[in-house]
């Protein structure tokens, strides 16, 4: 064991044992971030803050929530919303937070796609990020079931039913997921377990992986420029702060994030207190009733685009039923973003608007996703169904075309 000399201060005492000095340097004051970035690079920190807010508000809710189909609805809507002091506040923060976190995730993801931050060494950042997206989706879905309102029940019913379309094992799989033949108490208790324990644990672990994956390739920048971090860091430490292309995570990078966070929180709290219906659907204030199908069933807004890909195929093509086609398209939609680093065959790491072909692809995708999202909520009748079909086909086509488009782009720019 190393020799420990008498510590002169509390700080030193801890430093001897935990290496605080070194730790802070590595994590904060000498963790280098490029200077040439904009507010979109603050989304990661916003997500970290949002996750913390969700975790803390969730703990308060957990103290009063009762995972039982006979008690769940009232434990949320009466006990928490009316009896517990500021229980309503935690519920609003949690429910609105769960919705807003997806808005930020989407911005974060599409920022990554726009600036090409998923390739040339950043593949693991991307993959871990997509894992977080999947985990957050599972967290959002399981959480939405807990208040046991009409939409909780029927969204759970419809979404679990989707798995029934899988050949051979479908029927058994649905029963396995629900723990019963229909959505019931056992479904609620298992999704409760997932929501409050298993998925949050997995998210925590994956966030650590995501951050770790950032260490070696470093964060991308506005021009997709690759440079020598050690040399730039040395410049900074030597006092050439203006000339250096990097800044330390603390305090320089974070000071900007705090500023962005402040205005983001203003937006978030406005929604929490004054404009929450989009996140707390009124229909869900009707108690779950398995015998009373609501006129319109739709998932939370952040699932609408993939839900629409599922619904888009509503008729048989080449002897395959619409249901099966939808399921296949849905499965592809879930997985395809994972493949971005390999579908993009162009060597360019540049903002999309500076890439001759990719820019069209990117904005096309944005428009298509918005159309899918909106039509995912509208009743799938008449022309709506056809718009859904066309935009689903477009979505799949975009990803089939991506390797060819980017390959051609690579040729055009000649490997730059």
């Amino acid at each position: 064991m190393a020799e420990f000399k008498q510590a002169d201060s509390m700080y030193e005492w801890f430093d001897q044992r935990l290496g605080i000095d070194k730790f802070l340097k590595v994590m904060m004051t000498e963790y280098w971030i490029p200077k040439n970035i904009n507010f979109l690079w603050a989304m990661g920190v916003l997500l970290t803050v949002m996750f913390t807010i969700l975790l803390v508000s969730g703990l308060f809710l957990l103290m009063y929530y009762k995972p039982d189909i006979n008690m769940a609805f009232d434990s949320v809507n009466y006990t928490i919303m009316q009896e517990v002091a500021y229980g309503w506040l935690f519920r609003h923060i949690h429910a609105v937070g769960a919705s807003v976190v997806f808005l930020i995730i989407y911005i974060h993801m599409f920022t990554g796609i726009y600036y090409g931050s998923y390739k040339k060494g950043r593949e693991m950042i991307w993959i871990s990020g997509m894992l977080l997206f999947v985990l957050f989706s599972a967290e959002g879905f399981s959480g939405y079931m807990l208040p046991w309102g009409q939409m909780s029940y029927w969204a759970a019913y419809v979404i679990t039913e989707i798995f029934g379309g899988i050949p051979l094992i479908g029927g058994d799989l649905v029963v396995w997921i629900r723990g019963n033949f229909y959505v019931s108490d056992s479904t609620l208790t298992r999704f409760f377990m997932l929501h409050v324990l298993l998925i949050p644990l997995a998210i925590l672990g994956t966030i650590v992986l995501h951050f770790y994956a950032l260490r070696f390739p470093h964060v991308n920048n506005l021009d997709g420029e690759f440079f020598d971090y050690d040399a730039e860091a040395k410049k900074y430490l030597d006092g050439k702060k203006v000339e250096s292309k990097v800044v330390p995570f603390w305090p320089v990078f974070l000071s900007k994030d705090f500023f962005v966070l402040g205005f983001f929180l203003l937006f978030f709290f406005y929604l929490t207190f004054f404009h929450f219906n989009f996140a707390m659907d009124p229909v869900n204030f009707d108690k779950a009733d398995g015998l009373k199908t609501p006129a319109h069933i739709y998932p939370e807004w952040y699932f609408l685009w993939s839900y629409e890909v599922l619904r888009g195929f509503f008729f048989e093509i080449a002897g395959i039923s619409g249901k099966s086609l939808g399921l296949i398209a849905f499965a592809v939609a879930q997985a395809v973003f994972f493949l971005m680093p390999w579908l993009d065959r162009s060597p360019m790491v540049k903002p999309a608007n500076q890439r001759p072909y990719f820019k069209y692809w990117f904005w096309f995708l944005m428009v298509d996703l918005i159309v899918l999202t909106i039509y995912g909520k509208l009743p799938p009748t008449g022309t709506n169904a056809w718009v859904g079909f066309a935009s689903s086909i477009t979505f799949l086509s975009l990803f089939i075309a991506l390797p060819f488009i980017t390959k051609a782009e690579g040729k055009k720019v000649g490997g730059k």
Partner: protein
């Protein structure tokens, strides 16, 4: 500045998406209906009726075309006979529908005209009391006149299907024209003619007093108006109105209020259990309730819930009560919200100043 431009692009994309999935989608899923109308002159009801019958006629006409085509295709004699029968029926429907619809529309218009006329008459309280004592208290209690219900709620529910409400506040909470209409023909006033159609074989538990002269009905209304009920204010008034108007069918669990009619009796009487209204201010919202209570059929065609004929003030009380019970933290939410936003604004500005200071060194 470049970053503001990016922010603007972001705001546009998010704004379009939001517009599509909230205001636009809701508009598509719940097309607007005629707003609540407290005139009680039957105009909206008749317009709705005429529209429904027109739709029925279109459907029937289509059916004739369908059956005719079927008949042309059919080869088997037996099938032909069956289709011919259906065709005859459809044809006779097409032939008679316009006439029946017109007659019924006229009948309803006249009905409300009479009710309006009745309500305008000067009533005689003494005569009204005689009529009420002879006709109404067999079923209804009138606490304000010292005449409570003669039998228990359970027995009343067993006899009439639903507990007849106490009439003490009837003249305050129900519109006078509605009340006159209701006494003359409850089914017409409540706009539940469909449920109690001659073909249904059902009879409404309260008789129609259409044998009474308009003057006599006006006397009954005058007597009910003369009853001195304790004037309540604010929340107490809201609660009392709710219980008098809705309490025979609906519970309000979060206020520990149970419907006076037992739940299983209600299910038999209504064909469906009236929902507990604790959270309906949230699930339906004030706007929907405002239109729905005034005329349920306009929003939920064929619903078992009757029109209850409240005055605008009484209906306002009912909705206020639903909000007091369903969303009691609203005031706290708004005031805390304002403080939180003010505090966050300070935080954001400090964040901005701090960022300016730090970044001035590296730029």
């Amino acid at each position: 500045m470049k970053e503001l431009k990016i922010l603007a692009v972001l705001a546009v994309l998010v704004g379009i998406t939001y517009y599509g999935i909230e205001p636009y989608a809701h508009h598509e899923m719940h097309p607007p209906v005629a707003p609540a109308d407290f005139t009680y002159n039957g105009k909206q009801e008749v317009a709705l009726y005429t529209k429904t019958m027109d739709e029925k006629l279109v459907a029937a006409t289509e059916n004739v075309a369908v059956q005719t085509a079927e008949l042309a295709k059919a080869t088997d004699a037996k099938a032909k006979e069956a289709i011919t029968k259906k065709l005859e029926k459809a044809k006779s429907e097409v032939a008679t529908l316009p006439e029946t619809a017109k007659a019924e529309a006229q009948r309803r218009t006249d009905f409300w005209k009479t009710a309006n006329h009745t309500a305008a008459l000067e009533g005689n309280v003494t005569n009204g009391k005689v009529l009420v004592d002879a006709n109404c208290i067999a079923c209804h209690g009138i606490d304000a006149a010292g005449m409570p219900m003669a039998i228990s709620n359970a027995d009343a529910a067993a006899s009439y299907g639903v507990v007849p409400p106490d009439l003490s506040s009837a003249a305050t909470i129900y519109d006078a024209k509605y009340l006159a209409a209701f006494i003359a023909s409850p089914v017409d006033a409540m706009h539940i003619q469909e449920k109690y159609s001659p073909e249904s074989g059902k009879t409404f538990p309260m008789p129609s007093y259409n044998w009474m002269q308009p003057q006599e009905i006006a006397d009954v209304v005058a007597y009910l108006k003369s009853l001195s009920v304790k004037k309540l204010e604010g929340k107490e008034a809201h609660k009392a109105t709710f219980e008098a108007a809705c309490g025979r069918c609906h519970s309000m669990q979060y206020a520990k209020f149970e419907s006076t009619t037992p739940a299983d009796a209600l299910k038999t009487y209504m064909g469906t259990t009236p929902p507990d209204l604790s959270q309906y201010i949230k699930s339906r919202g004030e706007h929907y309730l405002h239109d729905f209570i005034n005329d349920p059929q306009a929003l939920l065609a064929g619903t078992a819930m009757p029109r209850v004929g409240l005055t605008e003030v009484a209906q306002h009380d009912v909705i206020a009560y639903m909000e007091e019970i369903g969303d009691p933290k609203k005031d706290e939410r708004i005031s805390l919200g304002i403080y939180t936003l003010a505090f966050t604004l300070v935080f954001a500005i400090l964040g901005y100043l701090w960022k300016r200071k730090i970044w001035s060194e590296v730029h």
